[in-house]
């Protein structure tokens, strides 16, 4: 068998079932690659070899038992059985660290498994470790991690996007075939776009958030990263479904179509015939990279050539998205992050003359600059005298943003097609001085969170040698259709020259003398 780390998850699954490899071999190959290549990438905060190999052995034993039982038992195993996966470091794994990229959670060990951790274990997936992220998922570049930034495998001088930057970079660098991220305003789709992989934010309520560190509770959603659509879809299938421990988790059936996407590119592409897509004109934002706009236009031409109808449409309240989001999300964050008081867990500063001074010192020294900024914004927006002007106004604007989407889907569009990010991967430091510039990275993704809809980013080519992401947005609970459409586009572009291009800096990652991202940032100052 070829180097296991070059395979897609569904290829690994086929190899496992054919008896050509074992889950232990798959885990060991990815662990070895992660250790050998992460010095220059810093995608991981924890790699847990011992736990991963034990889980892999358990998966091998389950497969052996299923074989003994018969073909039906083998067929009943989940497509992810025995397959490695990485988790963003805000997903609880019992006994493991869970920092959310923050000093304030340093040393904390999760006393229980998140719902999705349980689901992954039931599916037989093997958790390799935990990936780097912007602190409390607040950021679009991974530069706000308290433990140092992550680099982009396409260019180690550039960011992988964020906040789920480590999850995206690890998949793009072949350290794991699959990873989990969270998306509050674009934190799965934007890094997927910048790293040239697939990333999906499901409908709000599709995946239980029990055991996930909360950022903005009316927006947060968990989703998959993978190097192709079928793999991302299978991972979504494994973690979706009702869980009564998260009261926002919806009693909506998980479609089995997610694990039955066509293997044939031609068959997949033929689905596009007669389908109807809308292109929101407002998503071609001012100051957008012309290379990104060109790739999106080409993708639209591809959809049309395959028999789809693509119409220009309008989401007229898009321009209010940024302001609305940056009131609602910080307000919810300021409430969620009140729990970090240094009393029950995590970083704690004691010994002041009174309890208040202990809180101030604990929180002042435990949170990083972006988190403090958001807590301040949110506290202000919720404070006496400003609630109506800011928070209530933003919630009303949110209604208008949601109605824009509802009207288009009521009019019969199967999905909307748009850029994921206005830019390709940017350089370290480029957007750190001005928070508003950083916030604009999510201008095309955050309205989707405001409306609670599913959105996926899939690769659609390169601009100046860097990946561009195509975003597909669907009505609530339309993930099966979105993944079908994504697989169709993937099939329609299977022969495109850019499909075979690997991230050029993978070569440098193999060299242990490659500087760490933190060293690059320090040298650039």
């Amino acid at each position: 068998m070829a180097d296991a780390t070059t395979l897609l998850a569904h290829e690994m699954a086929a190899s496992l079932r054919a008896g050509e490899t074992s889950s232990r071999e798959l885990a060991a190959a990815h662990l070895a690659r992660a250790h050998a290549t992460d010095h220059g990438l810093h995608a991981w905060l924890t790699i847990d070899d011992e736990r991963a190999l034990a889980e892999a052995d358990a998966a091998d034993a389950r497969l052996a038992a299923a074989r003994a039982e018969g073909p039906a038992a083998v067929a009943a195993l989940h497509p992810l059985h025995g397959i490695p996966v990485a988790l963003k470091d805000l997903v609880s794994v019992k006994g493991g660290q869970c920092t959310a990229g923050s000093r304030i959670l340093e040393g904390y060990r999760a006393p229980y498994d998140a719902h999705i951790t349980e689901r992954l274990h039931e599916a037989g997936a093997v958790i390799l470790g935990k990936t780097n992220m912007d602190e409390f998922a607040m950021g679009s570049s991974c530069e706000h991690s308290a433990f140092g930034p992550t680099a982009n495998p396409w260019d180690l001088e550039r960011v992988p996007g964020g906040s789920s930057g480590g999850s995206a970079a690890s998949v793009a660098a072949f350290q794991t075939p699959l990873s989990i991220g969270t998306d509050t305003g674009g934190s799965i789709r934007q890094p997927a776009a910048l790293c040239g992989i697939v990333g999906l934010k499901p409908t709000y309520g599709r995946v239980s958030r029990f055991g996930i560190v909360a950022f903005a509770s009316s927006l947060d959603q968990i989703g998959p990263f993978a190097r192709d659509v079928r793999d991302a879809s299978a991972l979504l299938h494994a973690v979706s479904g009702r869980d009564e421990r998260d009261s926002t988790s919806a009693p909506v059936p998980v479609p089995d179509d997610l694990v039955n996407l066509p293997a044939s590119d031609d068959e997949a592409a033929s689905w596009l015939r007669g389908k109807r897509f809308g292109v929101p004109k407002e998503y071609f934002v001012e100051g957008m990279d012309p290379g990104v706009a060109a790739r999106i236009r080409e993708a639209i031409t591809t959809l049309e050539a395959a028999g789809a109808t693509v119409d220009e449409v309008s989401l007229p309240h898009t321009e209010y998205g940024l302001a609305t989001y940056y009131i609602v999300a910080p307000a919810e964050a300021s409430a969620n992050l009140a729990r970090y008081d240094g009393v029950r867990f995590g970083h704690s500063v004691r010994g002041s003359e009174d309890y208040l001074s202990d809180y101030l010192a604990t929180r002042g020294s435990g949170f990083g600059p972006e988190v403090k900024r958001r807590i301040m914004l949110g506290t202000y927006a919720l404070s006496a005298g400003y609630y109506d002007a800011f928070y209530l106004k933003a919630q009303k604007a949110r209604t208008l943003i949601k109605r824009d989407f509802d009207q288009l889907f009521d009019a019969g569009f199967d999905a909307l097609v748009a850029p994921t990010s206005p830019d390709v991967a940017f350089r370290f430091g480029e957007k750190m001085a001005d928070p508003v510039r950083m916030y604009l990275s999510d201008a095309c993704t955050l309205p989707v969170n405001m409306a609670g809809l599913p959105g996926v980013s899939i690769p659609c080519g390169l601009a100046d040698g860097l990946p561009v992401g195509l975003q597909l947005i669907g009505p609530a609970w339309s993930e099966a259709t979105l993944m079908r459409a994504s697989r169709a586009y993937e099939g329609a572009t299977a022969g495109a020259p850019w499909r075979g291009v690997l991230p050029p800096d993978l070569v440098k990652l193999a060299d242990p003398s490659t500087p760490t991202p933190a060293e690059r940032v320090a040298a650039g100052r």
């Binding site: 006393p111 009564e244 009393v343 309890y355 202990d358 208008l400």
Partner: protein, 98 residues
């Protein structure tokens, strides 16, 4: 649109229970005002007859049977305590005196 003064920033930091250095307060004063400038855009919108959206999926009254179930083991919860005394978290005195 409102402009935040240094005193406002200090007041909000107090409400948020964030101990900030003079440098942080100065930087935040500039940055928060820059962000608030973006909020001004919302004032353009006529929202008089628009209901607010707090959540997007129309789930209501999700109830479960009121039965006791096992909760986390006390030892597991206390394992993360910065300071503990037996089965209790040690917290700073909040009522004054001893």
């Amino acid at each position: 649109m409102a402009t935040l003064t240094r005193a406002d920033v200090e007041h909000v930091a107090h409400l948020a229970r964030l101990g900030l250095t003079p440098d942080e307060l100065a930087r935040l004063e500039g940055q928060l005002n820059h962000i608030l400038d973006q909020y001004a855009k919302l004032a353009e919108l006529d929202t008089d007859d628009i209901p607010p959206t707090a959540q997007t999926i129309e789930l209501e009254n999700i109830l479960r049977d009121d039965v006791a179930r096992p909760s986390l083991d006390a030892e597991a919860v206390l394992a993360n305590a910065p300071e503990r005394d037996g089965d209790s978290f040690v917290v700073p005195a909040i009522l004054g005196g001893e």
